[in-house]
């Protein structure tokens, strides 16, 4: 009988989860491995949904781009199998929410604490720049080719920021002495 009680608590959780999704206008939520295949699946799913909702082609393209960049940031961490803890690095959460003004693309994944300073400085810097400065920084990064390094996410963040015109919202939540959970939300206005 204890199984039934457990299930009832579980179903209550599912209902709360459903209510929370409605309240925050979340149209897609995922937790699990994030790899290239998953990225392709979600981007084509979102493309289909947006086109059904008659969103403009330019908006669809921008949301698609933000999804690709954010999901690839996570899936690319999977290429360092020598580090045992990295097994968790290609997992994460992925959410899309929307209201009548914006789309939000949110990702969350486990990172090493030593990345926090780098990411904070990078995101604060990118957030502080205007369109022209972002274009200059993008070109500089392209020319100097920092892509293959683990910090290569820089180009993605710069590009999201300049193509959406919105600041990137982020938060680090401590998980342990060595790891943290990195949450990142990109906002794409529905009217350009």
């Amino acid at each position: 009988m204890s199984d039934i009680k457990l299930n009832k608590g579980f179903l209550d959780f599912v209902y709360d989860f459903y209510k929370g999704m409605k309240e925050h206008e979340i149209t897609l939520a995922y937790e699990g491995e994030i790899n290239h295949q998953i990225m392709k699946t979600f981007t084509s799913l979102a493309e289909g949904n947006m086109s059904k909702n008659d969103e403009s082609e330019l908006l669809q393209k921008k949301v698609y781009h933000v999804m690709v960049e954010c999901l690839q940031n996570i899936s690319k961490h999977a290429v360092h199998p020598e580090d045992e803890a990295d097994l968790e690095y290609n997992r994460g959460i992925f959410l899309i929410s929307r209201n009548n003004k914006v789309y939000n693309v949110t990702t969350g994944n486990v990172i090493k604490n030593e990345r926090i300073i780098y990411l904070t400085e990078l995101l604060d810097h990118v957030n502080s720049l205007n369109r022209e400065q972002l274009n200059e920084l993008y070109k500089k990064q392209l020319r100097e080719g920092h892509l293959s390094e683990k910090g290569g996410a820089g180009l993605g963040f710069i590009d999201i920021r300049r193509k959406t015109g919105e600041e990137l919202l982020y938060k680090f939540l401590p998980l342990s002495g060595t790891h943290a959970f990195f949450l990142l939300t990109s906002t794409i206005p529905r009217n350009f």
Partner: protein
């Protein structure tokens, strides 16, 4: 040398490089899982081509999407074309963008400022 032909996939562009008439075209989407692996044969072909190019080289970009990882490789392609031009070869880049897509239009503008190669920009109705 052989022509380079690659079919379009859901995450990689169609490649159609013809040595004899100098018409080279990259079209579709570019967000491959590993950009270096995908683009290396393209850069190798282009480097070899640049030794004995056609009288006139016309490189057409007709991409509907590329991710930031691909953007570096596109610059690598343009750098090879720039070197050909510096060597006295006749080279032109034709940059096509869907008419609604200001980001793809701006990308063409940006690349044309980064390399010294003649660029022509065209919008089209996809």
């Amino acid at each position: 040398m052989d022509n380079l032909i690659l079919d379009e996939m859901d995450d990689s562009p169609k490649v159609k490089f013809s040595h004899e008439n100098g018409k080279l075209e990259l079209s579709g989407k570019s967000l491959p899982e590993d950009v270096s692996t995908f683009y290396q044969p393209i850069l190798d072909w282009l480097t070899e081509y640049s030794e004995t190019p056609a009288g006139e080289t016309e490189f057409t970009f007709k991409l509907t999407y590329f991710n930031t990882a691909s953007s570096k490789l596109i610059l690598d392609i343009l750098s090879i074309l720039e070197k050909m031009k510096d060597d006295g070869r006749k080279v032109v880049v034709k940059w096509f963008y869907p008419e609604y897509d200001e980001d793809m239009r701006d990308a063409g503008q940006e690349y044309s400022e980064m390399v010294d190669v003649p660029f022509e920009h065209f919008s089209y109705n996809p």
